[in-house]
Symmetry: D4
Subunit: 174 residues, 8 copies
Amino acid sequence: VNPLVGICMGSASDLPVLRRAADALDRFSVPHEVRILSAHRTPHRMVEWGRAAAGRGIRVVIAGAGGSAHLPGMLAVETDLPVLAVAVESSPDPLNAALGSMVRMPEGAPLATMGKGPAAAWNAGLLAVRILALADEGLAAAYAAYVAELAGRVAGDDARLVDLGVDAFLDERG
Amino acid sequence: VNPLVGICMGSASDLPVLRRAADALDRFSVPHEVRILSAHRTPHRMVEWGRAAAGRGIRVVIAGAGGSAHLPGMLAVETDLPVLAVAVESSPDPLNAALGSMVRMPEGAPLATMGKGPAAAWNAGLLAVRILALADEGLAAAYAAYVAELAGRVAGDDARLVDLGVDAFLDERG
Amino acid sequence: VNPLVGICMGSASDLPVLRRAADALDRFSVPHEVRILSAHRTPHRMVEWGRAAAGRGIRVVIAGAGGSAHLPGMLAVETDLPVLAVAVESSPDPLNAALGSMVRMPEGAPLATMGKGPAAAWNAGLLAVRILALADEGLAAAYAAYVAELAGRVAGDDARLVDLGVDAFLDERG
Amino acid sequence: VNPLVGICMGSASDLPVLRRAADALDRFSVPHEVRILSAHRTPHRMVEWGRAAAGRGIRVVIAGAGGSAHLPGMLAVETDLPVLAVAVESSPDPLNAALGSMVRMPEGAPLATMGKGPAAAWNAGLLAVRILALADEGLAAAYAAYVAELAGRVAGDDARLVDLGVDAFLDERG
Amino acid sequence: VNPLVGICMGSASDLPVLRRAADALDRFSVPHEVRILSAHRTPHRMVEWGRAAAGRGIRVVIAGAGGSAHLPGMLAVETDLPVLAVAVESSPDPLNAALGSMVRMPEGAPLATMGKGPAAAWNAGLLAVRILALADEGLAAAYAAYVAELAGRVAGDDARLVDLGVDAFLDERG
Amino acid sequence: VNPLVGICMGSASDLPVLRRAADALDRFSVPHEVRILSAHRTPHRMVEWGRAAAGRGIRVVIAGAGGSAHLPGMLAVETDLPVLAVAVESSPDPLNAALGSMVRMPEGAPLATMGKGPAAAWNAGLLAVRILALADEGLAAAYAAYVAELAGRVAGDDARLVDLGVDAFLDERG
Amino acid sequence: VNPLVGICMGSASDLPVLRRAADALDRFSVPHEVRILSAHRTPHRMVEWGRAAAGRGIRVVIAGAGGSAHLPGMLAVETDLPVLAVAVESSPDPLNAALGSMVRMPEGAPLATMGKGPAAAWNAGLLAVRILALADEGLAAAYAAYVAELAGRVAGDDARLVDLGVDAFLDERG
Amino acid sequence: VNPLVGICMGSASDLPVLRRAADALDRFSVPHEVRILSAHRTPHRMVEWGRAAAGRGIRVVIAGAGGSAHLPGMLAVETDLPVLAVAVESSPDPLNAALGSMVRMPEGAPLATMGKGPAAAWNAGLLAVRILALADEGLAAAYAAYVAELAGRVAGDDARLVDLGVDAFLDERG
């Protein structure tokens, strides 16, 4: 099957975070490809991939980066597909370079920032699903079921906490 | 015509920024509606609008907010459509409350942050166009033409600067 | 007994911090309930709880949240009771999203921010006691006794440090 | 009439911000007093006022401060009444000293931070009303009416914007 | 012997940091006292100590604090002696509350901030020595000898590094 | 008369801020000198001045700087006198370079940071007075009188505000 | 004459800042070219220019950018020449996106950040001169003369201030 | 062989970071020296080294520092050689003192900031190579080979990831 979503990162070290985007897509059976393309080390492979993406049937790009975070922004320039950015920072960074860079794209170069870390990568996968679901009713229904499942889990926790009280509830969770 | 994009904000004072999103959509003749719905003052109107949006044919939501920035996140919860957030801050805010809040949505509640201010609002309009163009070849072509136009403008500036030199170039621009 | 204080959080993972608010209320024998209500996953349960709170006899709401921190602000909108916010952030967050969002509520939507982490949760419990003590002289007396106890403990430490000197004092504390 | 709320600040230069708290209380006809008491210049007057406040019938304290912001925290120590803090900073302060200090009170010294500037001062007045309304049904009703009025104003703006469109709406507002 | 320097902190938990100030004074045989005086829990003991300090022969005050950091500023108000502030923060604090509060004292209430943590506490001890040495030639000579000793240690490291090369030098230091 | 305090800055553009330190010293008739010595442009003049200061009878050094702020720290190294640093930043600087650099001096190189801007410069002058007053009873008495004067001014404002009410008080001040 | 330094920026609006780099080069008669090449709008022109630069005799690249700041980093990848980055931010940016991005380049992609604004652009010109002077003794002598001139100007200001005193000195400068 | 690059730091504790600059130079067989010279403890040795560097044949200076970071800036003043700064901070520093100080050098004192930590030190070594390669074709060729090697490694990772899929790829890397 042709991938509908391309997940790109500049280094294998970003994969543990970005794989959460792939996991989200897997949950909804959305075909995708995962690629290591570095804006700093393989700029021309990155450009080629970006330019070819739409023609290959890809419809949404998810790009993760840390530090200077050039990959998401440069991909947003090389393709006209929607590009979703995920910040990856292995150590606490008070300058917040990656996030700060992503949310400051100039007029004319739109980039959608999803946040930082694994939760943001998962959410990038979900936003890709929301976009693809615009043209796929089955996917829209699956997404609605997922939302209901999340709600049920929280409601269940609440009921259990009310039943058990704080101490027993925390004990049960270990 | 039915709106395809809904542009929401919590207060009329956000309109000068958010109108740039509407301007971007107008440039591509994308029908849209602009609404004032406050998460803090009219929470129930906001909920109703969010829940009804998909059914009314809206496909992308753009939501602007400053300060605590509840509107974009709560709309992302009330609808399963893609929601694009634009930060609006009238005064310098070292805590960057609105941006900081937008990029920290929890797992399961995806929100796409476009940045802060008029350029981010314009880019939100452009990202909506990129999403809609996935199912509209004419729109895709129009977008590609826009990108080429931007490139031409920069190349023209470069040529003029090389011709005139710094001083004359700056004089000409006034 | 009817709860006088409602302690809400969006996820069971916030409970180790928020339980400190319950502990503070327990110390003064103030009846309370602890609930898991997510602004992002169970928005309608949150709205219902907020709207019903005053009618059920609740007089103060304590709401904890991390990240985008929508729960405290949305509860402050759904009820006219005083709402006290506690930031919960499991990892260091240079953007300080939760705190930053809490202290930027717009005019007309008052929210009282108590700080971040377990000490802030304890202080939220204490502030609830201060509010309830306005109409309960016994509670006011209990609070004054607590303040005196804290003072006594510090004065005792000071006397012990003066007696023992720095090294022996630190040795004694281990 | 005896004041129910005391509004304190360290300098006359804070009055243009803090008066918004007084304005909010005036709107609900809540008697209050406004005082200039400096933690740095008149520490003993501050202590005396704080210790006497509850006995004089005051039930809520609102304290504004900029910079090192000692006044709200020290008042929270000298009285057992609920104390609401408002940050006042005349120039942009990247360190956010006043806010940062307010939200970091130690365990045992609860202080409720309302935010920074005139909107936060207004909200401090509103939170005082919420607290007083716990024991005053008329005040609770007046507060509910105020909330409805705010909602009506936003709904009116929304309707007008839908009617007029963006350009005419902005023209009308000038 | 009468103490010439008073080292104050609000809690025994600050002692591991502040004791470095005492260590610096011990190195120069400057008599000092170390006290636990809390601005939040024992405000009146703090005031009394501050007011009596000069009369008891104390000439420099070193005050450590974390979080809201009221102790150094309030002591600077209760005495006319020079007061040196040391920030103590057990966990990373992106708001830098203690430091931020210390460097924002208002006009008329001078406070000298030495920095954060053990090195700053040591430097506070050194600055107290510099002040006392203005009236004590022996102390001035001892300080000059200390500076020479530090210089000798660095010059020795440099010579050893040049001799051994990077790898052997790092091996030797383990 | 021999100067007792040396006020140094790296550029004439810092003088409008640093002159406030001189003004504070003038108020107490403390002789001082004001010098332009740049760590970056005249490093050797700076070194010479620093090394000679104590021998010339100077007892306290006040050093102002913006940006990289090398002057205060390098002077603290070239002299063993107490050195008080004042940050001068003509434009808002979110990195707070000058302040941040001043409060991070390494162990063994003590520098006392007074804050940023004219109020901090005035406070640097006051701290110099506090240090000199340790050996000058007349100066100590003058300082105490100044503190009383400040207190009187605040108490007067408070009395006037209570008399007039908020509106008339603000009108009177214009 | 062939340019030895290439000064690049993404938009004509950056020229008022970047021209200061050209001014510095002009002062030392170093031939240079000034170009508008956008990483976001003309990525392929940027790539071509970067790849050809060394072959055309350019030896140092100065690149200015604001916001996401992709231009300096991408040029550092497309050429092996030394690249000096200058941040340009027209409005205060608490996230400091451009600077933060520049100083976080990954291992293997060196970029030298000179700072923000016109002074940093001037310094970029000076650093280019320092690099070129390694192979040009005349340029090295001219640079040394410039340093001496700066020192002379500061020493002159100092002498004038000592002569005139603060008030007259400030009057003279207007 | 005479060193072409001088690598300086203020303390042996900075060596584990700065040695990465030496490692980068070793990779290209560029002779260098590594020195411990403290701006705060051995200021005069630092000045002497800086003034003599060019005469001894050194062509590029790399200087590492944490905290107040005076060493790189002062070396940039004592020599006219290009100076590359590397920030070294052992603990997370929300004020980012070292980086913030480095990027705020005043006009006339150029300093090139490479970033923070070991990757920045490695990049400082690479930038020194780029500068030296301007006059050494063999070095330029070696650098180009290094860039190709990096690209090959990333392309290899990408191919392997495409072959194996995410799980097997992560397993293989352990």
